[in-house]
């Protein structure tokens, strides 16, 4: 399985995530919000795209929604957050088909389940 991680320039969670996912034997490719193109989902054979949160706003969550709206349905799109999101925002992401994953909850079993659901 191949994962694309879209990093946010002012966060570094993606570096930790990259190490964890590689340890889980997933292939990982890192993108920035500026250089990511929806066509990469098929061109780079990405099974899942994980968007890292932004520190001071909910821009990352909105970016995850933009990605969800523009890549094939079969591509999993997730939003990884460290800071709590409002229930309204969580619900919006869920309704748009973005899977949420709280970074604080991360463990292998849970992540594997999340990916394979």
């Amino acid at each position: 399985m191949k994962l694309g991680i879209i990093k946010n320039e002012d966060r570094a969670i993606y570096k930790v995530l990259e190490l964890i996912y590689k340890a889980f034997d997933y292939e990982v490719e890192i993108f920035s919000q500026d250089d990511f193109q929806p066509s990469y989902a098929s061109e780079r054979s990405l099974d899942a795209i994980l968007v890292e949160e932004n520190r001071d706003s909910e821009m990352g969550a909105s970016f995850a929604i933009a990605v969800r709206r523009s890549v094939p349905e079969k591509t999993i799109v997730g939003y990884f957050f460290f800071n709590p999101l409002s229930q309204t925002r969580l619900k919006e992401l869920e309704e748009c088909g973005v899977r949420n994953f709280n970074f604080m909850d991360l463990d292998k079993q849970k992540f594997t389940r999340w990916m394979e659901d």
């Binding site: 919000q33 500026d34 929806p38 706003s57 909910e58 821009m59 969550a61 909105s62 970016f63 929604i65 933009a66 990605v67 709206r69 523009s70």
Partner: protein, 159 residues
């Protein structure tokens, strides 16, 4: 046709950009892939004799977007219209907005029928004057491979 034109093409679909490269070998051609790239070129120091732009394309960057706007940055939106007006504002003399979307397949394509005709035609019945520019809105003519025939559009604009 004039000898050598400085043509700007703004087009997000690769095969249509390739057909422009093939068809305009004898002109000076600049290519942009989305609204942001096109806007930057139109606001830059270069001056163009012709702008041919697709109708629907993505924004291409996150500039100005807040959390609400960010959701739509990859959506294909009718940026061809603001680009055409920007080009007219900046004095580009010949401007064409050219869509390959069949009017049965998208509401915005159907909505341009009254101002462009429902299908491609090579008359200048639907050419408009915006400032000093000749502006045409077109359902695209095609060459083989369902690629836009930019040259036919240019010929109508230059009539």
């Amino acid at each position: 046709m004039e000898d050598k034109l400085d043509i700007l093409i703004i087009e997000d679909t690769e095969r249509h950009r390739e057909s422009a490269l093939e068809q305009f070998k004898d002109h000076k051609l600049t290519l942009a892939r989305n609204y942001a790239e096109g806007e930057k070129l139109l606001l830059g120091e270069g001056s163009y004799g012709v702008l041919l732009t697709d109708l629907m394309m993505p924004k291409g960057n996150r500039e100005t977007m807040g959390p609400e706007g960010m959701k739509y940055i990859f959506d294909l939106l009718p940026f061809g219209f603001p680009l055409a007006f920007l080009a007219a504002k900046n004095g580009v003399p010949y401007i064409g907005v050219v869509t390959d979307i069949n009017h049965h397949n998208h509401p915005i394509s159907a909505a341009i029928d009254p101002i462009s005709g429902a299908y491609w035609h090579d008359s200048d019945s639907y050419i408009y004057r915006v400032n000093d520019s000749r502006v045409g809105i077109f359902h695209a003519p095609f060459i083989e491979g369902e690629r836009k025939d930019w040259n036919k559009v240019l010929e109508v604009l230059l009539k």
